[in-house]
């Protein structure tokens, strides 16, 4: 089984280098953050609780990962109200979507034939 190394960092997708591992994004590469990004990539926006349940983590763990992704400029956090109930909405940014798509493309390249883009 082939093994590649994650070398890229946020905002440094390894352009110009041949091996797909150079296109992996170190911020998204963490499994939990990949799940969060995959959830948000499929949505215009998602409520915090929905993402928490989808990723299957606690509120505090999700908050920490969200802060990391927000600091990288990959997601946006919007607080508001629905009626009197406070809600936190998460959405992926344009830069986050590009980074996620590049990361997935690199995973597809590493995974080899038979693995289509999700």
């Amino acid at each position: 089984m082939g093994v590649a190394a994650v070398t890229a960092t946020a905002g440094d997708p390894g352009a110009g280098q041949a091996h797909p591992r150079h296109r992996l994004d170190a911020v998204i590469h963490a499994p939990m953050r990949l799940s969060i990004m995959a959830t948000l990539a499929a949505a215009d926006r998602a409520e915090f609780g929905f993402v928490r349940d989808t990723v299957e983590v606690s509120d505090s763990v999700l908050s920490k990962q969200v802060a990391t992704l927000e600091a990288a400029g990959y997601i946006e956090v919007c607080n508001g109200y629905v009626g009197k109930r406070p809600r936190t909405w998460l959405s992926i940014t344009a830069a986050g979507r590009r980074a996620f798509e590049d990361h997935v493309a690199a995973l597809v390249a590493i995974a080899g034939p038979g693995d289509a883009r999700p």
């Binding site: 070398t7 995959a38 990539a41 499929a42 949505a43 597809v108 999700p118």
Partner: protein
């Protein structure tokens, strides 16, 4: 370029892709329930109330039914918005098409019915099905990938 921080195997890459696919399915599933509850209840409300608009005499309940129906849709839309946890990418256009189609069908059926078929069960009952169809079919369409 930074130094390598970790290794990734083919198996891990595949696991990542599977996780991304699972998350996408979760979003689809979360939205499917919303669309069926929201548009399904709106469709059933119009199915029940639309015939009453044409069958009840003017001044004898027709206006009240129209008001009740408008209030019911308003409540359904408001409640649906409050319960919506995820908004899937690209659904806005489908949502707009569903309500625009419904408005066209509803307006036409109502105008024709009020002008020519007031009080005639044979017109208003089948038309209730026709008028509710864009919402009921829309619930199915909007929930599709």
């Amino acid at each position: 370029m930074s130094e390598p921080t970790s290794d990734i195997s083919v198996h891990e890459a595949r696991a990542g892709l599977e996780e991304a696919a699972r998350a996408r399915r979760a979003v689809q599933s979360g939205e499917r329930r919303y669309w069926f509850a929201y548009l399904g209840s709106a469709g059933i409300a119009i199915l029940i109330l639309f015939p009453l608009i044409g069958l009840l005499p003017v001044g004898g309940g027709s206006g009240a039914v129209t008001t009740a129906w408008s209030a019911a849709i308003g409540m359904i839309v408001s409640y649906g918005a409050s319960r919506r946890l995820v908004r899937r990418r690209g659904r806005f256009a489908r949502h707009a098409v569903i309500w625009a189609t419904w408005a066209l069908v509803y307006g036409t059926a109502l105008a024709v019915g009020v002008a020519f078929f007031r009080g005639q069960l044979a017109y208003w009952l089948p038309m209730a099905v026709v008028v509710s169809a864009p919402l009921l079919l829309g619930a199915w369409w909007a929930s599709r990938p």
